[in-house]
Amino acid sequence: MEIKSNSFKSNIFNSKGQAAITDALYFLIIIVGLCSFMFVFSVNYGNLLDERLKQLNEQEFIGSALKTIIYSSTERGTQSDYLLAKLKEDYYNNDSFSDSNVLLAKNIRGIMREIEASHDYLFYISYSSDKEILTFPLVILHLNLKANETSPVTSNFYNCLITDSASLNKFLRDAGNVKPSNAQLLLKPREGNLIQANASLIVWPSTNPDASTNKLADLNCTAVQFS
């Protein structure tokens, strides 16, 4: 009986090394897990803030671009005047922006030139009529498109005739990650009261330059002729 007991104790004591290595392996597994977590965390640390800063910067750029478009001057004979004043005068005379839209498109193109290779954008003036239906007297659209698979991507400008906001909403929904900026302005038609209008600039990354998808189907667009 005594011999059996001694043998048992002796076995237990002599298995100590085996238990220790198992413990060490468990320890190693925990350390590897902890290290992986720490490594992944430290590599990704700050990425969210970077992304947020990028978005803020883009938003600042778009807001600045819209203000610059509105504040800019233009030549009027031998003198200069605000571009916005010319737009308002054009609207008063013609109930449209037919005389000033090319000038405005030139201005927008110059201001947005630095990002036009990578971004598409839409500038429009809209107001709400008596029946609460949005009217779009001016729509200028820039799209990077390529005619076919092998041709290079080119920058294209359009004047569009949008008759209902649903088609615009659908177009913007398809465009993806859009960033808008808005400014209010007053328009005076020849007949009637002052109109509280909205100038908007919407920018998004041009991801699909394939012209064959016919993105412009519902917008009634015609190419702007910069002469």
Partner: protein, 182 residues
């Protein structure tokens, strides 16, 4: 009858002392601890660098947006006054206005190469270049400061925004370009 001494001797086969017996288990422990401290050091260094980088970017971004404010710069004197926000900061900075050409055929100012922004800065009606340059911690302008051809550090920031610049009653579209580096 098996003696007690014989049983003990049999069970002690391979026993090389209290430390010698634990020697194989020390290898993964030491490996694990080395790995842990290496990753810990890497993480702390990475956190530190990223924190500094984020603070740098946030500071330059904040200064740039407060410089452009409402995107309307009323004359050279206002430009120079706003420049002083960058004086005495812990980084080099070059801030300038570059003209936007409205000609549809004109090329982009930066030619899509923002890593080396050296645009021609606008000169006002008196011939003064609309740019200001500050070396690290310098309270006054350092006109000899140049933007390096390439940045050897990750501590650099470039921001540009369209702004309207008023000069002699004419409002011109320009780019406000802010380049800062350590």
């Amino acid at each position: 009858m098996i003696s007690k001494k014989f049983i003990l001797k049999t069970n002690s086969r391979g026993f090389i002392g209290p430390i010698g017996d634990d020697l194989p288990s020390l290898i993964p422990i030491i490996f694990g601890l080395t790995m842990f401290f290496a990753v810990l050091t890497f993480s702390f260094t990475s956190f530190d660098v990223k924190n500094q980088l984020m603070n740098f970017h946030l500071e330059v971004f904040g200064l740039s947006t407060s410089f452009k404010a409402s995107s309307y710069i009323a004359g050279t004197s206002n430009f120079e006054k706003s420049c002083l926000n960058f004086a005495g900061k812990e980084f080099n900075s070059v801030i300038g206005l570059t003209e936007i050409k409205l000609d549809p055929a004109a090329a982009p100012v930066f030619l899509n190469d923002l890593r080396n922004p050296n645009p021609p800065y606008y000169k006002d009606s008196l011939g003064a270049e609309l740019s200001c340059k500050f070396k690290t911690a310098s309270p006054t302008q350092n006109s000899d400061l140049k933007i390096p051809d390439s940045f050897s550090t990750q501590f650099y920031a470039i921001y540009f925004y369209p702004v309207a610049f008023e000069e002699n009653g004419l409002v011109k579209p320009m780019y406000l370009v802010v380049v800062a580096w350590k």
